[in-house]
Amino acid sequence: MPKESPKVYPYIPNSVPAVKEEMLRAVGARHVAEFYEDVPEELRLEGLMDLPEPFVSEYELKRHLQGLLARNRTAGECVSFLGAGCYQHHVPAVCDEVNRRGEFLTAYAGEPYDDHGRFQALFEYASMMGELLDMDVVNVPTYDGFQAAATAIRMAARITGRGQVLICATIGPDKLSKIRDYCQPGPDIELVGYDPRTGQMDLAALQAAISTETAAVYFENPSYLGFVQTQGNEISAMAHDHGAICVVSVNPISLGVLAPPAHYGGDIACGDIQPLGIHMQFGGGHGGFIATRDEPRYVLEYPSRLFGIAPTRVPGEYGFGDVAYERTSFAVREQGKEWVGTAAALWGITAGVYLALMGPQGMFEIGEAVMARARYAAMQIDKVEGVKAPAFSAPHFHEFVVDLNATNKTVTEINEALLARGIFGGKDLSHEFPELGQSALYCVTEVHTQGDLDRLVTALQEVVS
């Protein structure tokens, strides 16, 4: 029996020896070891675990962590043009204020009457997303946009009972990796090629691939590679002609200027809410949304929780609860749709705050702000010797591919040099899309001033010459 430490821990009130003794007496035990009577002797650890010495005082702990974090250089300290699924936008102070309130931060799974605030905040999030997407059903957030896409595809397979999904070949390989893993039990995945000039899905290839075995056609708007998929109507029409479901992954922050999938035939919209008032956090600030029309054949296939509004026993009072709860794994375990669990509720609430602050006008302005800056950046970058931007001739949202092949330098070399100048260059696409050669994905948002963009251009100029 290891010697018991007399140390008292601030987070463990009953570690005070006198209290511990009193409680042991109350339950008729002499030592805490008695509570582990069911744990066989041979499975018990002898002595203490071999862990680093702790920092028991709060000050020392803070110093330790700050020391570690000091070795980071943030996007805010430099100028960053990284995107590719995680975006640098301004996070309104009110968003941080709300999601740092302990009342929200430490709530979890209370009932509709004692956690009413959480239910209402998430219902409002879903409602505002519903307006943005022009759809009536939006889920309580799942983990991230990858999960949302994968689930949307499996939902389509369940709804249609079919075994194949067609996916645009410009999908990011990481997302495709997730979808492939998730769809191992089905549906089968086939990629549909794209026009190398415009990036747009090759409709002839789609026509050739689609059949009555197709459960869904999936594409992204804007694409992972930044351009706007302008043929939404044609793609969804082709899908519907074959009884397939049209799944579109979108960036919600674009929907003040870009039409939502519902306006060009999309049946299931999905995506990631990180751009809506959530800090990047090294990729830890994601939440996934799935949205559809309010039809039972769709609603009953969601694995996530769906919060609906309902009356209470008091007239005029409303509350919230789970819609069609019995479809979930919480209710029926393996008979439920996929599974549901803790995911990203706090980010959902945050995104709701963001949308409420921005309003319709703000959402238009942010779309305009990022598109204009990105367009400017692309035009200026294009002037640099040996550089072509954007690589695809199509409208873009806030990201675009920069073709650096003619510079005879690798993206790695260029980005290294940019880094030395305090600039984070765009994501290297040369491994993900070998057919694009030495290309990089540049992202521009409202955080970039004209000065930042001009600085980038100047730096590129220096680096490639």
Binding site: Y11, P13, V27, F35, D38, P40, R44, L45, M49, D50, P52, V56, L68, R71, N72, R73, S80, C86, R101, E103, A107, Y108, E111, D114, H116, L122, S127, V138, P141, Y143, D144, F146, Q147, P185, V257, A259, Q281, F282, G283, V299, L306, T312, G319, V323, R333, E334, W339, G341, T342, W347, A356, L357, M358, G362, M363, R375, Y376, L419, F424, Q450
Partner: protein
Amino acid sequence: MRDIRRERHTGGKPNLRRFHQARWDEPIIFELSRQGQRGILVPEVEKGILDTVGDVPAKIPDNMRRERPPALPEISQPQVLRHYVRLSQENLGTDLNIDVGQGTCTMKYSPKINDQLAALPKMTDLHPLQDEETVQGILEILYRFEQILKEISGLDRFSLQPAAGSAAIYTNAAIIRAFHASRGELAQRDEVITTIFSHPSNAACARTAGFKVITLYPDERGYPDLEALKAAVSERTAGLMITNPEDTGIYNPKIAEFVQVVHEAGGLCAYDQANANGILGITRAREAGFDLCHFNLHKTFSTPHGCGGPGAGAVGVTRELACFLPVPTVEHDGKRYYLDWDRPDSIGKMGPFYGNASVVLKAYAWAMSLGAEGLRQVAEIAVLNNNYLLNLVQQIPGASAPYAKGKRRIEQVRYSWQALAEETGVHSEEIGLRAADFGVHYWTSHHPFVVPEPCTLEPTESYTKEELDEYAAILAHVAEEARTNPDLVRAAPHNSTIHSVDHDPLDDPSQWAVTWRAYLRKMGKSAHERIEE
């Protein structure tokens, strides 16, 4: 002079609180909208840029350009803040209440210092694709935390990529699948075994990964049944996915034999350690023979629950299975930390980047504030608290702790109000309704209710003896009211934010409404119509 203190105590014991939850009767946010109001302004496009690019949105092709602005509410900033702060008050989180009623969720204290550290720009303003040189700090934190988990579990490698507990369970199922596929045995091995008291995600995630699910029921004493397991294993067994101790608080003393039986049949064993809080430093996955395990960082490791996330799931594996872990892993070459993408056998990506890094930071800080001794105390005091509360609740007439009679429990207990229900006709859910009138939350059980009239309580190490006394006193009081004034109990809650919800519309497609617009539409109003007085 009246001594108020005397009125707050009766017979030396504190009276129950005259609690009332915040009730703001707050409208739905759309109802606060007033045309023209703005909550925040966006940096305008500079003239220099505008002159160069012109009207960019206008150049979007017609079919792709949004015509009508989204019908979002228009509200000024102070009003947005006020609305949400009011909503925040209408919750009973750990910061506010004695949250022992949310059994299996491990509602322990989430230290504020960790939240503050995770909110620093040096954490929040990092892009995941930055050059590794610029993120050595966070990479080191991820790496160090992996080392801590390795020691706590005894396993060889960890991935912090899964976004939460169920995601981690799924990841384990995917690794099991990849393992058997690599040996050409996946077609033959398509069954996963779990127990009815394991978290529903063990069954659901295995099913989602494509496995058939076999569920074991416990024996009459509530222990997982080894004979049942033997009847279930065969050459079709891919793996065992099991929680231990189970949600009843009972530790399976034959856990090592369970693992052995499955290994002999050629299957792998995954340990759902959602209930690890009570056994930290006491017993580990490795010694029991497990091949995989997972931890919930938002449970055992104190990170806040956030109304339902973000949390984080950590997946641990033996050396043999490390090649299947999600990619990338975090490595250290002696000088620097880096991400290893060169893992051809990896199951691929479970999410967009590397996991919820800021959540991992909080978990790391928590573990580093305690060390081996501290973690041991966490487990021992959590279990002491649990048995202390067990003792109090068992003294309430009408309450019982089914199974494992006379035995101690580990992290939590699933009680039963069956006797009280038979006597008074008041059900467990109703007792929970009334308990809310005293400022505490209360959860019954996962479905199905194998334990009748269930109630699952998990004290953790964070509450004082007095808080546990208060919680038990509330339950005892409500149980007594069930006898003397059952209608009061059934009509509860009276002091909560709202009253009990009528759930019927939520299962009726013609009535359910997941968004405000759907609600108005079904009520016969358009979204733009104002509701006039």
